[in-house]
Symmetry: C5
Subunit: 281 residues, 5 copies
């Protein structure tokens, strides 16, 4: 299975670099993400971007992966099945995102990798650590990749009275840089490290605001690969591209991006610029 896993990694990370198109927002945010550009709500449109933009991975929930199985297979774009998800209709401070599909089902749907969001710091971190850990073990035993969306979050993280040293460091960082607490280097690096400890092949994390601080994240996860999460659409292409440059300079393997592509007027233009940054052509 090690050979198969190696082959899967090469498909998603040709030459060690990756450019993943994320399309699980219909679950996480709902149709509001498609209001401005309703084409974004149609899968045919998304698959077309993925192909023309030369993305090396496409993140989907099982519904679309199943209904468009043959189109996805024809496209040749590696499928990353997102195994968990939650709606924004329920808004508890301590998030939990349950596993919805098995690794076995992902393979049946043609996936070369599985993804799972881990909200370390939530009071449900125990369940998510456990689920992700089992997913990693099973994925590897079956020769596919496991990718962790490592997003520390929860009431405790925002608790100023907390006794934890990491949280104190994060609060200090926040004071100095004005960053959101879950984008401080201490928090992001810890999330990335948990991905490594649990065996992830790749972790998707938030940007920490500077190449130097992101280098600490990359280092903390080593040898697990690190990709930057695209996040909400930036006002200009340049602002987003500048971030990507930073994380690549810091040693990131690439990016996993959705709204910054398919919410833009010209998704292919920015896709080509990203490809140039990541692959150099």
């Amino acid at each position: 299975m090690k050979e198969k896993l190696k082959e899967m990694k090469e498909r998603i990370m040709p030459g060690g670099k990756t450019m993943i198109l994320a399309y699980d927002q219909g679950f996480e945010h709902g149709p509001r993400d498609f209001l401005e550009h309703p084409e974004g709500g149609k899968f045919e449109y998304i698959l077309d971007i993925a192909k023309k933009g030369s993305f090396t991975g496409l993140v989907l929930h099982a519904g679309l992966a199943e209904k468009y199985a043959s189109e996805i297979a024809d496209s040749g774009i590696p499928l990353i099945l997102k195994l968990n998800g939650k709606s924004e209709l329920y808004t508890e401070e301590d998030p939990f995102s349950p596993q919805l599909y098995s690794v076995e089902e992902a393979i049946t749907l043609g996936a070369v990798a599985v993804g799972y969001t881990v909200y370390s710091g939530s009071k449900y971190e125990d369940e998510m650590h456990r689920e992700f850990s089992k997913i990693v073990r099973e994925a590897h035993s079956k020769g596919i990749m496991a990718i962790g969306w490592m997003y520390p979050r929860g009431k405790a993280i925002f608790d100023r009275k907390s006794a934890s040293k990491t949280l104190k460091m994060a609060l200090d960082e926040q004071e100095q840089t004005n960053q959101a607490i879950d984008e401080t280097p201490s928090i992001v690096a810890y999330g990335a490290r948990i991905g490594l400890e649990l065996g992830a092949d790749m972790v998707k994390v938030k940007y920490t605001g500077s190449p130097d601080s992101f280098r600490w994240v990359v280092q903390s996860a080593y040898p697990t690969k690190v990709v930057m999460s695209g996040g909400t659409m930036t006002k200009t292409d340049e602002k987003f591209l500048s971030r990507v440059k930073d994380v690549l300079a810091a040693g990131a393997a690439g990016i996993a991006v959705g709204r910054n592509i398919w919410q833009r007027q010209d998704p292919l233009s920015i896709s080509k610029k990203l490809h140039q940054l990541i692959y150099g052509y």
Copy 2:
């Protein structure tokens, strides 16, 4: 199994259109729904309406499906087994409706489809998303349809301080149209989308008040089919038929209706009008 699933879909949606008779209210509301017209409490009466009204599906819990298995089989009406349910005797703001029967048992009872209510937005959404997701996978692996009753509900949905963008949009819509929060386009479309993301073949949703807003729902679920839930009995036939016209114009595949049929004095009369609207004959 894809061939079998296709055949099942054709049975419930001949020509892509559907007209389903819902009869799970004995569980959800109890015998009070039969007080005005006690015949409605007898299954023989219901099955007769289904046959004479040319319904293309009948929704039941396992008790009736088992006790009248041969009568249902003889009728030729496709059975949709409702896999979960809850009573109105327990009234927590965050609803949970547990799975009561397995997909395997549904098939044993002769079902061509399974149904499941998903209360996204409830603090138990994780359990229901998980259960429904497993049901969809298993149904498809065994060649039968999976239908989601997508009803976002729960304390968080009514929480004005909620940070979620979708909820803010819904509150704005409510202010403008005076609709119930769980009938606003943003909420209904989100529910429908979750159905798609989890792999439902069909979603049953509330009416959003206008053809335009319902089109957004249909679009958000595409290519999953959308049917309108009948809801409480309207004062006149016309009021209900007008809604059906709206949703059909918006691209809905049809309706799933109970009380608006069997609580009426003349259930066959309205059934025929509905058939005319949906199938054109």
Copy 3:
């Protein structure tokens, strides 16, 4: 298995009528039920009543069913294994009664039927609906009967601010008749209906105070059979016999009675009168 199930039904309901001796009170109420007549605490005494009184079923927990397996088999009285139970030592307003034995174990112990208490309206109704539903499916697949003790109960049922229509109706009924809320026709009929929807062959319910209201219960459960629960010992034989007359007139299949038999000075005398009422000889 349908043939076997039919045979089992005929054993417990010869000619469609039934007279069941309940003896699970040692678990539910503890030894206090035997204080006045300590013989009642001894199983030999109970089995003797069951035989001499010509009861058509005997309800036991697994302990006694196992320890007296050969005596019970010799007696020829059909065994109904009560699968769940709880003590009165724990007194939460929302009751939960967990399944203690499997259907398979019931069959091993010689049972021709299994019983299970469902407290619909409790915040644990989801677990009990789920357990009972599975029990019904399994019992039928193995050819034995499933009987539901349908007792809606819990904090919500006593909550005057509750939004549920059924509860409002029950509160109105209570005002008019001074009945306990869980003995109002709306509540009892709802419990009975849930038994039908889940597939029970028979439901055991509380008396609603009049033949007319009990007829509504019987009708709501149809074609599931309804038996009246005996409840606490009435002051006179007559008072109890009068209730039994009422429910038989309302279409009940019979009764399931314990304390009104074995707490009396002369259990055989009342047993014979009951037999006369139910079977006519």
Copy 4:
């Protein structure tokens, strides 16, 4: 398996009488029980007492049972594996003691019986009733004995506003005799009865203060055998021996005792006196 079970019973209850040495206190109370007589903390010392004192059973957790498996086997003393336990470091008013080992593992370790503590009245009684019930079924299906430590306990038992009749009776008894509530005849007899209802072969209960009241306990559990729990060390041998006389007179099968043996200066002396009382030689 009935033959095997009978044989096991004869080993632990030769001639129907039993004298069990309990040694699970290291888990329940921790090393403080060994402070006065540190030899009590060493298993070799305990096993020596068991042998020389002619005990007919020895209660252990899996750790000691496994590490001293060959010594125990050589001793010929029947092993009773205590399947659940909890520490006194966690002090919730409603106790829960989880099952730690399976019946299968007990048999592998050479046990002829399994023990389990049931805290009826705790808000976790459902879980413990369920676990113990499964243990009894499995033990019997494999031919070994099941013994219940029946200790009603929990917040509800001390709640004066409780609606339960048993609790009211217990409070009355407490007023009259000044006993601890969980040592009143009503409470102890109820616990013993639950043991019978669930199928225990033997129940271990607290002393109720008089032979008469203990007779009620024995009667309530009949035909399940009753043994008195030794409890904390009494000041004199006589005080303890007097209790044992009482319960034997009341029909108890014997005792299960720990601290009253191995916390004493001369454990063998009292062991011999106990043997004399129980077996007459």
Copy 5:
């Protein structure tokens, strides 16, 4: 399997003594533990220390154990897979550390022992006692060692109103010695004893401040082996070495140490001194 287990013990405890390098802090504390000496964050550096320092065991989570499987195998250093873990991002007073990998997976990864942290005294102690107990049984059935990190902790332990005798003793000890409550002899010895009762081959515990008190710990766990946990880095080598001397004098089998090695400027220097103390060469 007993032969295999014996062999595994001899590998980790050559001649009955052990010197284990702990490296699970990346999960428990996050990257902050590597801030001062960033090399400590790289596994290659750690493995090098383990080899050159002649450690007899290396504690890892599955991520590193898998990614460096061949390097670890080549090194010849026995792998101890830590089966549970939690982050310091979530900070509930009652800790729970969930099992993340199975014993089977540990064996697949080449482990000769499994480790698990037990927070007795936490309101989740039931789950951890249960998980650890199952792990011990399974490890032994497969011939590998089970090591318990026995760390009593939780809200109840700090509760001065607690009724538990052990806790009262611990509070007295704290008053006399000014120790942290979870480092008092009563608490540490209790944790160690639970390890024995559940069947651990070795327990890792905190230092109690003196050889005499630590002897009580060793005695309470006998015949389970006791190792001292290294804890936070002491200011000087001497301070740490002095503690090690104390516990060895008290009968400990050795130590399990992390930060006191790889957070130091010269990890090999202190490693050699430790080896000298433990093995005498």
